[in-house]
Symmetry: C2
């Protein structure tokens, strides 16, 4: 079985960690057999943009549709305003390919230490899956500016929430919660201050909840949610939130699990009519780009999620086991308190895979 | 000198802690002399709303204008949808009285423990002032819903950012940063995904920065900011952010300093044409309301900020010293790991004041 992967390394450490992920995925298929990866690399990056004036070609989104999945490194460069780079690449892909679900799992990997050390009494004290709405809300792109460059300038950002958009993410979140042992879903909102779209979000949540009587639910305000994540992490399991809220909470979750360098982000089209996209949660980190010291664990975790989405569940489990053996053995980059570089961690994971 | 204070205890533990704050403020003026407080209590609460159908009377905002300051407990009740209660009370006050600045200081009080224990090497590892834009942005209240109660329902939340609104909060933030020893201002935004109002916010920040060459600046994305707060708290001092972002970050800040129960929130009209409003950052906490166990420290800290705003700087310092002596002596409520109730902590603070 051949899985065709479009790879977009992008900017900064996106390049380093995509290379590492490809090496690990190749080792995985060679070792386990029964499936293969065929990678096609797209040089859609800020460097290329500065040279030629565009990120994706006009038919870029269509070309991506020919693949089984997309592996994405990172985008963002000090030389291009972020709203240009992101709205030229990652955000249009998420939207055009109907990747309306973004999944962000967080747990404490062996050998890594949560900054919440005083809570770290049990390995399960922090084990969350954040389900992020990935197609609308605060990321609609709508809004504009009037009277620009004048003292009377007024700008708007318009968040759009639709019944259909909320319903589908809620169903996905309830299914996710139901498939986990604790069957518990925490819904996050800011409906006390935002009284239109956020109130609809709450309402749809409680409506859909009726279809899932076996799932325990609760509702949090996004500000209070950060407090609960810090002071009572073990009280939550699956979390569903809007595009912006989940963006913020998932970075916080990664930090609380030890480093933003380990977390994965899966952009899914659950209808499977379009390829889904897998990326580490971290950005392009221009300050450490090209030094070979980026933590590749987030890249491996997202590669594992891609492998699972492609139907190779055992291979995905094997990859995560290899990663956990490596972190557990203390073979870690600096952000996790270790002293290894990207290559050393990658080679160690490959060696573990070969031992599977 | 008589300071006339409008007190709005509101709901839940708002009632308990307002009573505690008044007791402490009375002790303060009696002990130190030279000034007095005259309190007028307004029963604008969810309980009253359920009885009579309104929170504030039609002339409520005008009546508040007759006072030198407003002391606010908390609002929010399980029996009233939050967007009704908040848009009937706290949010209209902030807006109508031009309280466009919200200040939220956070530091580790003596005797309290940050959950980030591994970082707690120096008492100054976490010492922030968050300057929150309090009049526009995500709290504009604009937006609406179409096709309600249908599968085609569409709701919007419209965030409004104005040049004038951003400029004035930036100036306040730079002045705040300049007045602190580190002279460092971190500006938070999400201009990579929100490309209209957030981009204006960035631009005005860098423009205003030119007037403050002695203040060191940096710029963070709100998601990455949560990571930095957890993993590198000592790298920041003064922080400026939008209404929603600062709402989230200030709750996180309170949690990282040990408890949401200690933090204060000052809603300021810097023009002093209207009274400013002082409240603890925590909510009405219906689960512990009326049990007499709420932590009054946030209420005392906000009372101290009120006293300072009213020109009694020495009295404010004295009150904070009394509070710190009490927490330092281990006289704390449960949320801070202690076993004392509201009354015991309050009496202890009063005793410390009398010893000043
Ligand atoms: C790069 C940026 C647009 C993106 C987002 O905000 O979605 C990133 O922070 C993420 O979480 O994937
Ligand atoms: C009660 C609510 C409207 C309020 C806010 O979001 O501003 C609260 O969370 C706060 O931080 O003061």
């Amino acid at each position: 079985k051949i899985h065709r992967i479009a790879s977009i390394p992008g900017d900064g450490i996106g390049v380093d960690i995509t290379e590492a992920a490809i090496q690990v995925l190749d080792t995985l298929s060679k070792t386990l057999g029964g499936f293969e990866f065929e990678f096609k690399t797209f040089d859609w990056s800020s460097r290329a943009y500065l040279e030629r004036g565009w990120y994706m070609p006009p038919d870029g989104l269509d070309r991506l549709k020919e693949y089984d999945a997309i592996y994405f490194g990172a985008v963002g460069s000090p030389d291009v305003p972020d709203h240009i780079s992101l709205w030229s690449l990652i955000l249009p892909i998420r939207k055009a390919l109907n990747q309306y679900v973004n999944i962000r799992p967080t747990r404490i990997l062996p050998g890594t230490i949560s900054p919440l050390t005083s809570c770290a009494t049990s390995p399960t004290f922090l084990d969350w899956v954040i389900v992020r709405e990935n197609s609308e809300g605060e990321y609609s792109g709508q809004g504009g500016i009037s009277h620009e460059h004048s003292p009377n300038a007024v700008a708007t950002e318009v968040s759009i929430f639709t019944q259909a958009g909320i319903e589908r993410i809620m169903r996905f979140a309830f299914e996710t919660a139901r498939a986990r042992p604790r069957k518990k879903l925490t819904m996050v909102t800011k409906s006390n201050a935002q009284r239109h779209g956020m109130v609809l979000w709450d309402k749809v949540f409680f409506d859909v909840a009726k279809e899932y009587p076996d799932v325990e639910i609760d509702k949090m305000l996004v500000d209070a949610m950060t407090v609960r994540m810090v002071l009572n992490p073990q009280s939550m399991d699956t979390i569903v939130a809007t595009n912006l809220h989940a963006d913020i909470l998932s970075d916080l979750a990664a930090a609380l699990s030890g480093s933003i360098g380990i977390a994965s982000s899966s952009n899914l089209d659950p209808t499977r009519q379009n390829p889904s996209m897998f990326e580490p949660i971290h950005g392009s980190a221009p300050d450490i780009a090209g030094k070979g010291i980026a933590n590749p664990v987030g890249a491996f975790w997202s590669a594992a999620e891609m492998v699972r989405w492609l139907g190779e569940g055992e291979a995905a489990d094997g990859l995560m086991k290899a990663v956990e053996n490596v972190t557990g053995a203390g073979i870690k980059t600096k952000d996790l308190g270790g002293d290894r570089n990207t290559r050393e961690v990658t080679d160690a994971v490959c060696a573990e895979i070969e031992r599977l």
